[in-house]
């Protein structure tokens, strides 16, 4: 844990990580316990949204992650008002330069490409840099013959980059397709929340799609559906279990078993 703590301290500027408070049951969880319990509340079992660095620590073989395009930063392609300030704020709050971390790593000894979205940076929304980083990751994995595992969480396309954000959905889809045509495996892990343009592109393009329990996964926003149709949403609507029941995810896996399951699937796809 100590390596991770160091990384977290550097990105958040905190010497000591404060305890985490559970939104469901208000339990106060010391950070060490929180990490040891896979960012799940030990009292009520609620899943916290994992930071990319926490996910990385829980998933890859120690010391094998090599980050790519770490320095890539968003510009303001349509000169959207207050966007620059918003980006600076997101950077400070998250300790990241953008909403996705990409690189290569080993999982249980198997090499793979990895992208991990982080909702602490503008809800993991996709602008040009998120789109470009994920595209480059797929292109790199295609060139190296590596499978890709993506941990997804995103509010959708980023409004502040207008049409450029929308077009990233097509751009990434192209790179996913080329990766697939090279006979390579892509596993999408959908975590809370996965919505909008992300669901309508690479979240749903995995050979295998895994969801975390109770994760919100859907295209249209719940409030928008209620306002448009005047209908009351059924209990559990757009949750992982709903998506499993309707045939859109392959399996739901609990967080403590996620790495084990990923390793098993990676092994099953090795020639």
């Amino acid at each position: 844990m100590s390596t991770l703590k160091t990384i977290l301290n550097t990105i958040t500027g905190n010497v000591e990580q404060p305890p985490r408070i559970c939104k469901k049951c208000n339990a106060e969880i010391p950070y060490e316990d929180y990490l040891a319990n896979h960012c799940i509340c030990p009292e009520c079992g609620a899943y916290f949204r994992m930071r990319a660095v926490e996910r990385l620590d829980a998933t890859v073989d120690k010391g094998t992650f090599q980050e790519i395009d770490r320095k890539l930063k968003s510009k303001n392609p349509i000169d959207f008002p207050d966007y620059k300030e918003k980006l600076e704020k997101a950077e400070k709050a998250s300790g990241l330069t953008e909403g996705v971390v990409c690189g290569t790593a080993k999982i249980d000894g198997i090499d793979c490409g990895l992208f991990i979205m982080d909702s602490a940076f503008m809800m993991g929304s996709m602008g040009t840099v998120v789109g470009e980083k994920i595209t480059r990751l797929f292109e790199k994995a295609t060139a190296l013959g590596l499978p890709v595992i993506g941990f997804i969480t995103s509010g959708g396309a980023r409004m502040q980059e207008g049409i450029f954000s929308l077009m990233q959905m097509a751009k990434v889809s192209g790179a996913v397709k080329r990766h697939s045509e090279a006979g390579l495996l892509y596993i999408a892990v959908l975590t809370d929340p996965t919505t909008g343009g992300i669901t309508a592109s690479f979240a749903m393009q995995g050979d295998i799609i895994i969801a975390e329990p109770k994760a919100l996964i859907g295209f249209a926003g719940q409030r928008v559906i209620e306002q448009t149709t005047g209908e009351k949403l059924p209990a559990g609507f757009q949750r992982a279990e709903f998506q499993l029941e309707h045939g859109f995810v392959d399996l739901i896996e609990e967080r403590p078993r996620m790495t084990y399951t990923l390793a098993k699937l990676l092994k099953l796809h090795q020639a």
């Binding site: 349509i78 207008g162 450029f164 990233q168 309508a200 059924p234």
Partner: protein, 261 residues
């Protein structure tokens, strides 16, 4: 010649109930049109009209969003907002076009993919995702024309193409100006301001290299616009048909690859 409409005036023009939609262009541009229905999975979505016909003796597959004219017709077509079945019908017919090496022409004009409980149950997100993915590799020319409102992912699901064309007063955006204003200022009535900021007009998108051609509308009748569009389409079909499949797909990949690279 460009006129001087504000962005929001163009949004209103794109949404105007009298503005010709997909069916108009099929009627006035496509000969011997045979409409083909259904996604062969679940149903037939009337928000998308699709089929085969000729443009100047060249067989083409046409896939068009259509909102309808009368109130009954509009309700039947969900006011032009496609359900998953619409996107699946579109993909099925694109695959058919690929098999017979026929160019595909898509007409886009919709506020967005239908948003509702049933659409979610039947995989609205997946339906769009599959179109983006499959269109990237479709081995036949695809030309997309935004004739009305190009509303986000629901529009892009027919927008992965070799050549993107917009009518002058069409708009194409990641979010509606009203949605944008609600999020930014908690006030949908500031949509005109949001429309300016979103850079969603045909000339904006032309300057960003997101679309390749704009068809002027100012001072022209619907028939004249249709005829000018037809000329451009024929030209593009000819150009794209001369490419090898490999060149075509590489060109399509690069067209999107360079956006925000």
């Amino acid at each position: 010649m460009a006129d001087t409409k504000t962005a929001y005036e163009r949004v209103q023009a794109a949404r105007n109930g009298k503005r010709p939609m997909g069916s108009y262009y099929i009627e006035h541009m496509v000969d011997d049109f045979v409409e083909l229905h259904g996604d062969r999975r679940f149903g037939d979505d009337a928000a998308i009209v699709a089929g085969i016909g000729y443009i100047n003796h060249i067989p083409v597959t046409v896939i068009a969003m259509e909102r309808g004219d009368t109130i009954e017709d509009r309700m039947k077509r969900n006011f032009g907002c496609p359900e998953p079945e619409g996107y699946r019908k579109a993909l099925r017919l694109m695959k058919e076009a690929e098999k017979f090496h026929r160019p595909v022409i898509c007409f886009i004009g919709s506020s967005g993919a239908y948003c509702g409980i049933e659409a979610e149950k039947r995989g609205q997100g997946l339906a769009i995702a599959e179109n983006l993915y499959e269109m990237m590799g479709l081995k036949t020319p695809v030309i997309s024309v935004v004739v009305g409102e190009g509303g986000s992912g629901g529009a892009l699901a027919l927008g992965v193409c070799d050549t993107a064309i917009m009518l002058e007063n069409a708009v194409y955006s990641v979010i509606s100006p009203e949605g944008c204003a609600s999020i930014l200022w908690k006030d949908a009535s500031k949509a005109p301001e949001a429309a300016e900021h979103l850079r969603l007009t045909s000339y904006d998108l032309l300057s960003f290299d997101v679309v390749e051609k704009v068809i002027p509308e100012t001072g022209k009748t619907d028939r004249e616009i249709c005829s000018a569009l037809k000329t451009v389409l024929l030209d593009e079909i000819k150009k794209l048909s001369s490419l090898t499949t490999e060149e075509l797909l590489d060109h399509r990949y690069q067209k999107f690859r360079k956006i925000g690279a």
